[in-house]
């Protein structure tokens, strides 16, 4: 099987200057807005700590909270299903759709359903699913994964969208005015909404105490999916629980401020049961989560509330885009989450990180992402999935670095090379450093030599 190569895909995006600059600018602006709104709340850091504690508490008693939640949800009239993995999840929903003779579905944005490959699965079974989130729909039309958890098409320029719509919806390819493009999409989707047999959405928070779910969106994409058709199916990762209704405001306050720097999502919708005449189903998905929960090393990834703040702040993500991660979850949280699904396939992802640590500081629930990057790199090596070049480098470096004599010799050789080997060779393509850097200017002597010449003799005379 092929390993995902973020470095290569990222370099392709970096070369697309207009895309890279727009992407970096938009996401940095989101990070700046986040800083501004967070700074306006004196208790911001206490909120992060409290949210982290609530998540840790819930996860440490997840079995009982899940039972409490399911019991209450069923009492509210929600049909609750348990899915061990993606396949079970998809088959449960397919069964529901078949019972209701569903042919077309509108769907709010859901990373959990993406994780299950649900849309493609339904497509293979003759059920058409239309994304109701604009960015997600753009990505669907382009047959491409979302590139960001909350801004799925943020890596596209307006002109990209104009040509995509021209190709798929018959609009004018030369008009990239957002109002026009929105109207094209609206006209197309309205025809579809009116005919859909069912609606779907993900879940941001499940409340154990009430058995209700909360979905946060900025476009109402979950709402149209939940409120229009007679059948509503939601999918919730089992880590999405919080204990009480009174815990919710804390998370609502943190979520959108962290994600986009907005005080609140435009739509924060509470579904505590089916509306009159509607049937409502909720699929609770495991798909490796309970296994992650048993790991003392990385169970804290389950705290993640999928806000995307780590992506907005990540210097690598902003320049390479979420597409380059070639995975369901991208950016900092992706590189510490995806290896737990498939260590070999995603063995390179934890290396797409400079260790700057900013993701850990912006995370509203304090997922220790920087620490987990170290952890996954060591797991990659331990399992023998380290890249050949890395293995060679580290094996060669160890005996040099651990011996003072060898290190001093290597330093001398390196400096000799810097002074004597022509630039044309030193800065050849064989030297990856030289792609972006000039060679350092060699100092006249090392500190060791300086010490031997200037300090040691005086010390010995003391």
């Amino acid at each position: 099987m092929r390993q995902v190569n973020q470095v290569k895909l990222g370099a392709e995006f970096i070369d697309k200057q207009a895309h890279r600059e727009m992407h970096d600018r938009c996401l940095w602006a989101a990070r700046m807005r986040r800083d501004k709104v967070a700074a306006s709340i004196p208790e911001w850091e206490e909120m992060r700590e409290l949210a982290s504690q609530i998540k840790l508490h819930t996860l440490s008693q997840l079995d009982s909270y899940l039972q409490q939640f399911a019991t209450n949800a069923e009492a509210n009239g929600i049909h609750v299903h348990w899915a061990r993995d993606a396949e079970e999840h998809n088959n449960i929903i397919l069964d529901i759709f078949r019972q209701h003779n569903v042919k077309t579905v509108t769907k709010g944005k859901s990373m959990t359903m993406d994780e299950c490959g649900m849309r493609e699965f339904m497509g293979r079974h003759g059920i058409d699913i239309y994304e109701a989130d604009l960015g997600e729909r753009i990505q669907q039309l382009d047959n491409q994964r979302p590139s960001h958890i909350v801004m799925p098409a943020i890596h596209k320029l307006r002109s990209d969208v104009a040509s995509l719509f021209a190709r798929t919806l018959g609009s004018d390819k030369d008009i990239d005015d957002p109002h026009y493009l929105n109207s094209v999409m609206r006209a197309d989707m309205r025809k579809k909404y009116i005919k859909v047999d069912a609606g779907m959405s993900g879940v941001n928070f499940g409340i154990a105490e009430t058995g209700g779910i909360v979905v946060c969106t900025n476009e109402g994409n979950a709402d149209i999916s939940a409120n229009l058709p007679p059948l509503y199916v939601a999918t919730m990762g089992l880590e999405k629980l919080i204990p009480r209704q009174s815990d919710l405001p804390l998370f609502i306050r943190l979520l959108s401020r962290s994600a986009l720097g907005l005080d609140m999502t435009q739509y924060t919708s509470h579904y505590h049961g089916p509306r009159k005449g509607q049937e409502m189903h909720l699929v609770i998905l495991d798909n490796g989560r309970s296994e992650r929960l048993t790991s003392p090393d990385y169970w804290e990834v389950l705290k993640c509330i999928r806000c995307g703040a780590c992506m907005n702040t990540c210097p690598v993500f902003r320049r390479t885009s979420g597409i380059s991660y070639d995975a369901i979850y991208m950016g900092p949280i992706g590189i510490v989450l995806e290896p737990s699904y498939d260590l070999y396939k995603y063995a390179r992802l934890p290396y797409s990180c400079t260790h700057c640590g900013s993701c850990g500081d912006v995370c509203p629930v304090k997922v220790p992402i920087p620490h987990l990057v170290f952890y996954w790199r060591s797991e990659v090596v331990k399992h023998g999935f380290g890249q050949f070049t890395h293995n060679v480098e580290e094996d060669l470096a160890e005996p040099i670095l651990k011996s003072t004599t060898n290190l001093a010799m290597a330093e001398k050789m390196g400096l000799w090379a810097l002074r004597n080997i022509p630039k044309s060779i030193m800065e050849s393509p064989l030297n990856p450093w030289a792609k972006e850097h000039s060679d350092p200017i060699a100092p006249e002597e090392t500190f060791r030599q300086y010490y031997e010449r200037n300090i040691k003799p005086h010390k010995e005379n003391d």
Binding site: G10, A38, W44, Y351, V380, E394, F447
Partner: protein, 251 residues
């Protein structure tokens, strides 16, 4: 007070002036400083890449260098290596001596600011220029030497406090003042495109803001930024912070 002076490999070879200035400054402050002559690598490059067995062997080497030396403090002119000792040095037995070492190892900024609490600099150095301060990510977020812009806590900046003791020096920042410059150790070799792009963005940020001089408590960031600036023909001069604090920085 006996101080061990540990010089990281990359400082020794590529920018020894950082060590010369730090050593000089500590001596001018009248301290008993002992250069750890047989210094080797702290193990960061190996640990950073996930090669725990390799980093363990490097850490063992360090243990033999500091054992039975009676150092009250060890000063390391490098934020990344200081952080390696303090936060990651877990592969060797945690004896009381190692625990003491990890608790008392400092980079010069912490040592001058938090331990010595200096309020003036020996020789009253002068550097009458605007200088961009780059707080290296490890020093910023792991050694807590300043408030990262994303944390909503009371602002502080230890490097800026020290630089303000230099006559005529005006501390400034890049627009994206604490965004990573993309060095990331071995990252700069294995992902040159993204590392380079981050570096170019950083140095052009300085240039846009009219800076000619940049300083940092992490020379690794400075070497990365300096060589990218040179490759892109930008007139920027980078200093390790003690070069300025010790009056060694030449405009």
């Amino acid at each position: 007070m006996k101080i061990g002076f540990f010089v990281p490999c990359y400082i020794d070879a590529i920018h020894p002036q950082a060590a010369i200035s730090t050593y000089g400054l500590l001596k001018k402050l009248g301290l008993d400083v002992e250069f750890i002559e047989r210094g080797s690598c702290c193990g960061l490059p190996e640990l950073d890449m996930g090669y725990i067995k390799h980093s363990c062997s490097l850490e063992k080497g360090i243990v033999s260098l500091i054992s039975d030396k009676g150092y009250d403090y060890v000063v390391v002119p490098s934020g990344i290596c200081t952080d390696q000792f303090r936060d990651h040095f877990n592969e060797v037995e945690q004896t009381p001596e190692i625990e003491h070492f990890r608790a008392t190892v400092h980079d010069p900024v912490e040592f001058l600011h938090d331990i010595l609490k200096i309020t003036e600099l020996p020789g009253h150095p002068r550097f009458p220029y605007r200088v961009a301060l780059h707080n290296g990510c490890h020093s910023l977020r792991y050694l807590n030497e300043a408030r990262p812009t994303e944390l909503m806590i009371k602002p502080f900046d230890k490097c800026a406090d020290l630089l303000k003791l230099v006559d005529g020096l005006e501390v400034g920042y890049a627009t994206r003042r604490d965004e990573c410059c993309g060095f990331g150790g071995t990252y700069s070799i294995w992902d040159p495109s993204c590392s380079g792009q981050q570096g170019r963005d950083k140095v052009s940020d300085y240039a846009r803001n009219g800076f000619k001089y940049v300083t940092s408590q992490d020379m690794s960031c400075m070497i990365h930024q300096q060589t990218i600036a040179r490759k892109n023909g930008l007139d920027l001069k980078m200093f390790y912070i003690t070069e300025i604090l010790n009056g060694d920085a030449k405009p």
